[in-house]
């Protein structure tokens, strides 16, 4: 024996490691052992190979690197004795994972062992294969496993069945080879084989519709009979758990029946009786019984409708919900989430109990209950439910506050019946958990306030009050600062007092105080401070009596270490001192922020569409165009005639001045030409220092999205807001050059049909799995812009999820993609996804359209990507 090889036994090593008092000591012991093992490996020591590997496994569990032992596993597996193989396979499963190349080397040994005469060695090989095989190994060894499904010993058959599950998951193409052997496993009496056979059939149904059809036709009755026999079987000590014979088999049978019954009325009909029997007979005082009931309810909810059974199932869930055991309540909530799509009314009955669960002390239950409440909310119950949720916001811990806040904001936006209620609820959320509110949410609030001209006074007063009590909520401060800047005069003069309000006395200097506080707050961040500076500038013209003080406050930031604040302070000071003549025009109230554009931006800035952002940058709100001097005046709401119309350089200045867009990420990309109107910049003002809005914003609000591109309602809005004199109606009547500037506006659809030249629809892209058709139309009076409606049809039998269409065009074209109608494409042409886009051809008449497309989607959560080029557009587009 060589002097380095450690003579310690496994037990001694573990004891030595356990007796270490510090981590350093432990590392030293492990280092010594590893050195000895490495030495033994390089000596090719045979006698202690399996002991060394066992040690390595222990060391591996402690988290030390053990890659040098991987080849030892292979050597042990290749040796002839059972003890060596046993440790070798264990090491293989523990030290390696399926992505390691070394694994390929073991394929041959596995093949030999699968054909071994000793059934325990076959068992070891099957176990290893089932736990870690890769797709290549699955392909190579599938025939052996298939053969072993008929092996004489049941313990090998059951292992082979589970091994087959791994194989068909790795290589779904192999599924059809397993359908017949799997079906014959269902007739077995041995519980182990039966349980694994049922599981194999379940997984086969998931990967192959052929298997599903086969089992539905051939095995449904047999399975029902098996379940019936089991439910009625006398006491069987070997499989008994809490008085029930083999709950595991019960559950697996119910699961398979669920898959067979789903979408098939006949099969569902057959299983009604036995499901009713299980649901009524199983005792629910032990976990095992509840597990079966839970599975049974799931099956009843999934198979085709049978009113009586559903009532039974909902009653079981009701019983679960009032159970004292948290586990049972958790699964009840979980199942109610699934039940809501089937029978929302029945779930609504449990609303009070579910709301209680939102306040539970258990985080898992709270989260689940909140998800469920979120699904329960509709127009009719949004007010009481929101009230409850906001109440629980006060009581919840920090971690949960974030989740809860996001959900409340989303609900309030989605279902709010009126603006004042929306503003009230948002205010409550902001003052309670403002620090958890996402940027796009408070941006949306500002847009809504800006649009509700009759609520300006109310909002600013309410915000002022809230600001006095909770200054530590950053987003509340921001919204308050913005509103005080805009509507400070309404705050002081109590303009637009509503009946429900209590009168409040705020002097001009009080308002300025509030802004000063928000600049000087220690925890104010850059965005808040920058917003407060702008607000001060605005107030300087509204409150002439305070202008000296405002100048002082602004000047205090002259030496700010933050460049942005310093620059602002100096520039604003300059305006106050030297440019009195334009000041009042500069700091006029913001024009009404366009909700459609804002919600469009939110939806459009999803990372899903490559070209959207360039499009939105030109999506001019309210049709305001810069070249004309008058519209700029309108933009600034010069309702007073005496204000001098600012020239265009003044407009640019304004842009620079208000360009608070601190993060380059939110700057409109692709603006090689200067923005055409100040509005764009004003909109950017709202996305101060934000990262692009998160994906979640696709759940955009109803209030915000209700207008969309619908021109009629837009006109209404303008009428309501009445701040912009230049309504789209007026512009659509203007001559063509004007329209070019307004290409962001699609005319109303009826017009399109009347005036636009007609084009036949064309199949732009077609593969064996997918077809994309384009319906092409033109905007009247705007030959450069083409409206395209893309219709996607699924030609395969699989549903496509996370469907995403992307398009790219050459530089002479500009592309704007609208959000798609859905991201799920039903199978076999049973529906379609529609997505509109707009292409503007700057070389109209010289070059024709061309487009490169990319379509990504998921089939059974596998990514698929299709790419192509569309060059068969009609020539004159």
């Amino acid at each position: 024996m060589n002097p380095f090889s450690s003579g310690t036994r496994l037990r001694d090593m573990i004891r030595a490691i356990r007796s270490c008092k510090t981590a350093a000591e432990e590392r030293a012991v492990v280092r010594k052992e590893c050195a000895a093992i490495r030495a033994a490996i390089s000596e090719n020591d045979q006698d202690y190979r399996h002991r060394n590997l066992a040690k390595l496994m222990f060391i591996h569990m402690l988290g030390y690197p053990t890659h040098f032992g991987q080849m030892e596993c292979l050597k042990l597996i290749a040796s002839s004795g059972f003890p060596e193989k046993r440790i070798g396979y264990l090491g293989l499963m523990l030290l390696l994972d399926e992505r390691q190349e070394v694994l390929m080397l073991v394929t041959n040994s596995l093949k030999q062992d699968l054909n071994h005469s000793n059934q325990y060695i076959i068992g070891l090989a099957l176990c290893a294969l089932g736990n870690i095989c890769s797709a290549e190994m699955a392909r190579d060894l599938a025939p052996e496993v298939e053969r072993l499904l008929q092996f004489r010993d049941p313990n090998i058959r059951k292992k082979a069945a589970l091994c087959s599950i791994r194989i068909i998951k790795k290589v779904p193409d192999l599924a059809e080879n397993f359908i017949n052997p799997a079906a014959s496993l269902l007739r077995e009496k041995h519980h182990g084989v039966l349980i694994t056979g049922v599981q194999l059939c379940t997984d086969l149904c998931k990967v192959s519709s052929e298997a599903l059809e086969y089992f539905r036709e051939k095995c449904t009755e047999g399975l029902i009979k098996t379940l019936k026999d089991m439910a009625n079987s006398p006491y069987a000590p070997e499989y008994d758990i809490a008085g029930i014979t083999d709950p595991f088999l019960h559950i697996r049978l119910l699961k398979l029946l669920r898959i067979l019954g789903q979408g098939d009325a006949d099969a569902s009909d057959c299983m009604n009786d036995i499901l009713a029997q299980v649901a009524t007979k199983i005792e629910s005082n032990k976990n095992a019984g509840n597990a079966i009931l839970y599975e049974c309810v799931g099956t009843i909810m999934s198979i085709e409708d049978n009113g009586g059974l559903r009532v039974l199932a909902i009653n079981i869930l009701g019983r679960f919900l009032s159970n004292r055991d948290n586990n049972i309540r958790y699964v009840a909530l979980n199942m109610l989430m699934k039940a809501i799509t089937v029978d929302a009314q029945a779930v609504q009955r449990h609303r009070a109990t579910i709301l209680e669960c939102v306040k539970d002390s258990d985080a898992s239950i709270r989260k689940k209950a909140l998800d469920l409440v979120y699904l329960l909310v509709n127009e009719s119950n949004v007010k009481p439910l929101t009230k409850e949720l906001i109440e629980s916001l006060e009581a919840s811990d920090q971690e949960f506050k974030g989740v809860l806040t996001a959900k409340i904001c989303s609900l309030v936006e989605k279902f709010s019946p009126e603006k004042i209620w929306y503003i009230d609820q948002m205010l409550k959320v902001l003052s309670e958990a403002g620090n958890f509110v996402k940027d796009e949410v408070w941006h949306a609030l500002i847009v809504v306030i800006s649009n509700a001209s009759d609520l300006h006074g109310y909002s600013v007063r309410a915000l002022y009050r809230a600001f006095q009590t909770s200054t530590e909520q950053e987003t509340l401060v921001r919204v308050a600062v913005w509103c005080i800047g805009e509507y400070g005069d309404m705050l002081v003069n109590n303009v637009g007092m509503l009946d429900i309000e209590e009168p409040i006395t705020v002097t001009e200097s009080d308002a300025v105080d509030a802004l000063e506080v928000s600049i000087k707050r220690l925890n104010s961040d850059l965005t808040t401070k920058a917003m407060a500076l702008i607000a001060l500038l605005k107030l300087s013209s509204r409150f002439p009596s305070c202008s000296e003080r405002i100048k002082d406050i602004i000047l205090q930031n002259k030496r700010s270490f933050v460049l942005e604040l310093q620059q602002r302070s100096i520039e604003f000071n300059c305006i106050l001192q030297k440019h009195q003549n334009i000041r009042s025009a500069l700091v006029e109230r913001m024009p009404v922020l366009d909700e459609a554009t804002f919600s469009g931006r939110r939806a459009g800035s999803l990372p899903t569409s490559v070209s959207t952002s360039t499009g939105t940058a030109r999506n001019l709100p309210n049709g305001i165009a810069k070249p004309a001097a008058a519209p700029v005046a309108d933009l600034l709401d010069l309702s007073s005639d005496d204000a001098p119309a600012p020239n265009s350089s003044g407009g640019d200045f304004l842009q620079d001045l208000l360009g608070v867009d601190l993060s380059p990420a939110s700057a409109p990309p692709g603006t090689s030409q200067p923005p055409k109107a100040g509005t764009d910049v004003l909109l950017d003002l709202l996305s101060i220092g934000t990262s692009p809005p998160a994906q979640s914003s696709s759940s955009a609000s109803n209030i915000l999205s209700s207008i969309q591109d619908d021109k009629t309602s837009l006109v209404n809005l303008n009428g309501l807001a009445s701040l912009t004199s230049l309504s789209p109606n007026a512009t659509s009547a203007s001559p063509a050059p004007m329209m070019d500037l307004l290409d962001g506006f699609g005319p109303s659809p009826q017009k399109k049909e009347e005036n636009g030249p007609a084009y036949p629809s064309l199949v732009a892209y077609e593969s064996s799995t997918l077809r994309m058709t384009f319906n092409i139309s033109k905007q009247p009076g705007n030959p450069q812009t083409t409206l395209i409606q893309a219709i996607f049809t699924n030609l395969s039998p699989n549903v496509y999820n996370d469907f995403l269409f992307q398009a790219a065009v050459p530089k002479f074209l500009q592309l704007h993609l609208d959000p798609a109608s859905s991201n799920t494409l039903p199978a076999s042409g049973n529906g379609s996804i529609i997505q509109s886009m707009k292409v503007t051809n700057s070389q109209h008449g010289k070059k024709s359209l061309v487009m490169r497309i990319r379509i990504a989607y998921k089939i059974n959560s596998k990514d698929v990507l299709e790419e192509g080029q569309v060059s068969n557009f009609p020539r004159d587009l």
């Binding site: 037990r11 573990i14 066992a54 496994m57 222990f58 569990m61 402690l62 988290g63 059972f82 003890p83 046993r86 440790i87 264990l90 499963m93 523990l94 994972d97 399926e98 325990y120 068992g123 099957l126 176990c127 089932g130 736990n131 313990n155 059951k158 292992k159 589970l162 091994c163 599950i165 519980h191 182990g192 349980i195 694994t196 599981q199 070997e238 499989y239 758990i241 083999d246 709950p247 595991f248 559950i251 699961k255 976990n287 095992a288 509840n290 597990a291 839970y294 599975e295 799931g298 948290n326 586990n327 958790y330 699964v331 002390s361 258990d362 985080a363 898992s364 239950i365 989260k367 689940k368």
Partner: protein, 162 residues
């Protein structure tokens, strides 16, 4: 399906890990750290389920050990609790009132038993007796092989002495 099985002691020491889905070594360490933080801090009366990365972790504490199994969203959590208990009962029968030390010194045995209970993240055998019988049969195979080698060694040693 069960994605992985973890046995963690109350001090956060790992006693057994079994991975049925592909996790690289780096991910494994991260998963263990994340879950220890999530599970060991939970109070005693709370439910036995934790949502984690879109999956669900079912755990149950037996004395100083936490048995954790990670499953898909649509699996039956209550059944997993039964499977955990099933495993514990088999261990208990095998070791004779099992304790953490048994699992430390005989960790490989704990793995062998688990391999008779689960393959590919699915339950293999509902009968505790069958599992015990299969493990015992394989243990005796090992014993016989050991005896044979030692008798051969003895013969060689005797021959050398002569």
């Amino acid at each position: 399906m069960i994605h992985f099985v973890l046995l963690i002691s109350r001090q956060g020491k790992v006693r057994l890990t079994k991975w049925y889905s592909a996790y690289s070594q780096k991910e494994r360490t991260k998963v263990i750290r994340e879950l220890s933080g999530l599970i060991l801090t939970r109070g005693p009366k709370l439910c036995n389920f934790v949502e984690w990365r879109g999956l669900r972790v079912v755990y149950k504490r037996y004395a100083s050990l936490y048995f954790c199994m990670c499953i898909d969203e649509d699996d039956n959590e209550l059944e997993i609790l039964e499977i955990i208990h099933h495993y514990v009962e088999v261990l208990d029968r095998y070791f004779g009132s099992v304790c953490e030390l048994d699992l430390i010194y005989n960790f490989h045995k704990a793995y062998f038993i688990l391999d008779e209970l689960l393959i590919a993240g699915e339950l293999q055998e509902p009968s505790k007796r069958t599992v015990a019988r299969l493990v015992a049969a394989q243990d005796s195979l090992v014993e016989t092989a050991k005896e044979q080698t030692s008798s051969i060694t003895n013969i060689i040693a005797q021959a050398a002495n002569v």
